[in-house]
């Protein structure tokens, strides 16, 4: 019978911990080499956009939807009618539910009779 023996393989916690500590140390080293003269709360800590005024954080946020743009574009013919069906009106959803339940009931009845 095979037994589980703890080893220092790829996912061993000790290896992950050591890698994490090394990563933190390297990050700290890089960070400590940076400039410390920036005055907080001034333009010196704002992002640089070629001299343009940086927009508010909300406005420069890139939505996760953008990552799936190609996916949605490729399945546009499927998504367009599906999105339209999601009207947000509860009456529409109840109608969908009743319609699907009716169709299911009819199919089950036919199957049970045959």
């Amino acid at each position: 019978m095979a037994t589980s023996v703890p080893t220092l393989d790829y996912w061993a916690p000790l290896v992950c911990l050591i890698a994490f500590v090394i990563l933190i140390a390297v990050t700290y080293l890089f960070r400590s080499r940076g400039r410390k003269q920036y005055k907080k709360g001034t333009a010196q800590t704002e992002i640089f956009l070629s001299g343009e005024e940086p927009p508010d954080t909300e406005e420069r946020h890139i939505r996760a939807y953008n990552i799936y743009w190609g996916f949605f574009q490729g399945l546009k013919r499927y998504y367009d009618p599906t999105i339209k069906a999601h009207s947000g009106i509860i009456n529409d959803y109840i109608i969908w539910l009743i319609a699907l339940m009716s169709i299911t009931a009819v199919i089950l009845t036919i199957v049970s009779l045959t």
Binding site: Q37, Y38, Q44, E52
Partner: protein, 143 residues
């Protein structure tokens, strides 16, 4: 003179505020092998947040005024401002033009002027050195 104000070589950000590009070409010439300021560690950087020196060319058009101010404010202290060329220094051929708000010293404080239309790369390099010495003297007076 000991140079203590900066811990490393100067990094330079170049801002064109409406120049004809003559001065900008001379700044680029200072980077080329004939003058090669990079052998001193000086490089042109892409952000004023990484820079010690602002090299400003051009007479400052109305559109560039807020950009110039913002770039100056975004440069960490201590910083040096060097105006390269006649236009940035006193308007040059664009003097009293309707769409100018410059020269540069009307918008931000300037440490060193480099006259010329355009100035030679040697003059630009010397201006950086002069600006550094000026900063060192100011730091020594404070200390």
């Amino acid at each position: 003179m000991s140079l203590n104000s900066f811990k490393r070589a100067l990094w330079v950000y170049h801002l064109n505020t409406g120049s004809c590009n003559g001065c900008d070409i001379e700044i680029l010439a200072a980077l080329t092998p004939r003058y090669d300021i990079e052998r001193f560690g000086m490089v042109l950087v892409g952000s004023p947040r990484h820079a010690d020196v602002l090299l400003v060319t051009g007479p400052v058009t109305r559109q560039m005024e807020p950009r110039l101010k913002r770039v100056y404010e975004q440069t960490p202290d201590p910083k040096l401002v060097i105006v390269v060329g006649a236009c940035g220094s006193e308007g040059g051929v664009f003097y009293e033009s309707y769409n100018l708000v410059g020269p540069v010293d009307q918008i931000i404080p300037v440490d060193v002027y480099v006259p010329g239309c355009p100035p030679r790369p040697e003059a630009i390099i010397e201006a950086v050195v002069k600006a550094w010495v000026k900063l060192e003297k100011a730091a020594q007076r404070v200390a």
